[in-house]
């Protein structure tokens, strides 16, 4: 026993000098990496620890230090949020917007990729595809400006056109009507992000063995049945992975445009009853009203739910289809 531990000891000390030698040789690299670690400590980890302000009576004038020195108040702010007169509405808006986007915006790029894959004219296919992901690189602010140009009641070209051809009597208040907000948010998300996610699905389709299609054709399979029996099963893995990513980030807006940006930029005083979501509310309560602890508590509730969603969607996907992220 003793002999063995002695042997380990000499080994560790020898190892130690070896480690020291290696370190001396690679120390500049540790300086580079260390700078990155300091950066993460400041901009990632400090805010992460700072979230404890949700359980404290924090005041912004006390700075960072105040987060640690202020008094604990337990779950006071969480209770306050649950009893907030807007609580039910905010949670409903967040959930409805998130789920509508999964239901409509998630399948859109899959369908678009399948349609593109059926096109034999390569130039046309390439052109349509290239155009389709251009809006991904445009700011949401510009997208809102475009929505304004097309949909506003007084100058919106689409509204005017519909009135001119007599389809509607009066311009629709799409941009301000509370009834229209969810439709507006989902369709603008599809307009902006569909083409971008199509890239992944098209790449996945390109990986399918062409021999499968030839064999199916010889067997007399029509176009639709080839899509159903070869294309879709061929990209199943990709669909599952993208779906997990989508559901994991569902409260933030999934992969198709952030809920926050949409709710913030497309929301206004008139459609507020459907456009205000938990995140925009936390943001306004925190930065506009200066109630930092309360806002942090609201934010934290959403983050906890999101983390639970990531892990549960991953587990379900693992059980159902065998593919998962981690």
């Amino acid at each position: 026993m003793e002999l063995e531990s002695a042997a380990t000891k000499t080994l560790t000390s020898r190892e130690r000098t070896y480690v020291w030698k290696r370190f001396k040789k690679q120390w500049p690299l540790h300086v580079f990496v260390g700078l990155g670690m300091v950066f993460l400590l400041i901009f990632s980890y400090t805010p992460m620890f700072g979230i404890i302000m949700a359980f404290k009576d924090y005041s912004i004038v006390t700075g960072i230090k105040g987060i640690f020195t202020s008094d604990w108040v337990g779950l006071r702010y969480f209770e306050e949020f649950v009893n907030d007169y807007r609580f039910v509405e905010l949670v409903r808006n967040t959930l409805v917007l998130s789920f509508l986007k999964v239901i409509f915006a998630f399948p859109a790029p899959i369908l678009f990729a399948i349609l593109l894959n059926e096109v034999k004219n390569m130039a046309f296919k390439r052109f349509v595809q290239t155009v389709s992901y251009l809006p991904h690189f445009i700011s949401w602010v510009v997208v809102v400006g475009i929505a304004f140009s097309f949909l506003s009641t007084d100058i919106g070209i689409l509204n005017k056109l519909l009135v001119t051809i007599g389809l509607i009597d009066q311009p629709l208040d799409i941009l301000t009507g509370a009834n229209y907000f969810w439709g507006l948010a989902v369709s603008s998300a599809i307009w902006k992000e569909m083409g971008w996610w199509t890239i992944i699905f098209l790449a996945s389709i390109a990986g399918i063995n062409p021999a499968l299609y030839e064999a199916a054709q010889i067997d007399g399979a029509g176009r639709l049945s080839r899509i159903r029996h070869i294309t879709l099963p061929g990209i199943k893995g990709t669909i599952v992975v993208v779906l997990i990513l989508t559901i994991g980030s569902i409260l933030g807006g999934g992969l198709v445009g952030s809920n926050f940006e949409q709710a913030y930029l497309l929301g206004n005083d008139i459609n507020n009853s459907t456009s205000e979501i938990v995140q925009t509310y936390a943001f306004k309560v925190g930065l506009a009203d200066g109630r930092f602890s309360y806002a942090a508590a609201i934010d934290l509730i959403q983050s906890v739910i999101s983390v639970i969603l990531i892990f549960s969607s991953n587990t379900i996907a693992k059980r159902v289809s065998g593919s998962s992220l981690f």
């Binding site: 500049p28 690299l29 990155g36 790449a203 925190g286 934290l300």
Partner: protein, 292 residues
Amino acid sequence: MGITTKQKDGLLDAAIYAILFCIMMATLYPFYYVLMISFNKGTDSLLGGIYLWPRTFTLENYATFLSDPQWFKALFVTVARTGVGTFLGVMFTCLVAYGLSHRDLLFSKGYFTIIIFATYFSGGLIPYYVVLRTLGLLNTFGVYVIPSMLSTFFLLIAVSFFREIPLELKESAFMDGANEFVIFYKIIIPVSMPLIATMSLFMGVGQWNAWLDSAYFVQADSLRTLTFRMMEIINKSNIPIESVGAAASVSGVTNYSLQVTSMVVSIAPIVCVYPFLQKYFVKGIMLGSVKG
């Protein structure tokens, strides 16, 4: 029998082309429409009915836009933050990645754990704001370019890219007495141009389009960005303007025509580089994201 299948196929083809054509138009036409209105007289645009080309062609929207010090300043700040922010972001991320790419780096497991944990969890906006405030970054140009210096997403991609670079390149430089920093910027950076192009593009677009930081982390008028001014003008009611300056009050420029012009200015650089850098734009999504 054979004919009917063929006919069915042809019909299906026609339907597919029709749908794709509609999608293409729905994507392209808004860009074209905005461009057209920016070249149309502002007061005339408010009457509507312009679909295919400008009715009263004019350059006064652009003239007003560029001669207005507020817009010009906003454009300048946006260009500056895009240039500086992209440069800092790419260089710092690559430097850290270069350190991490060393094959038998000590504590590398610890380093990677710290990085990966940071990609999954964040403290949210409120504590982040407190950090920015404590650092004195609020209301400075630094708030645009410093917090975005390290992208954990591109960091991990850059590490795997640098690991593919042949070791001999590095070793021969070592023999010549070069130190790690010299190797980094004289050898690693030049051979990593495809990676750097992609990173620059994505960080640049992100900087160019950012709006939240200008709206909430900055109060000084001189630090407002193009996206912020655009947000401001979209929220204003669309009446002919007098407040923008003497030149505007006599011309047909309106809030709306200025809004549209600013949108074109914001879109133009992206659309202009788009056809040439297309392959780098696509790379962003394929890199590291989904391996299939």
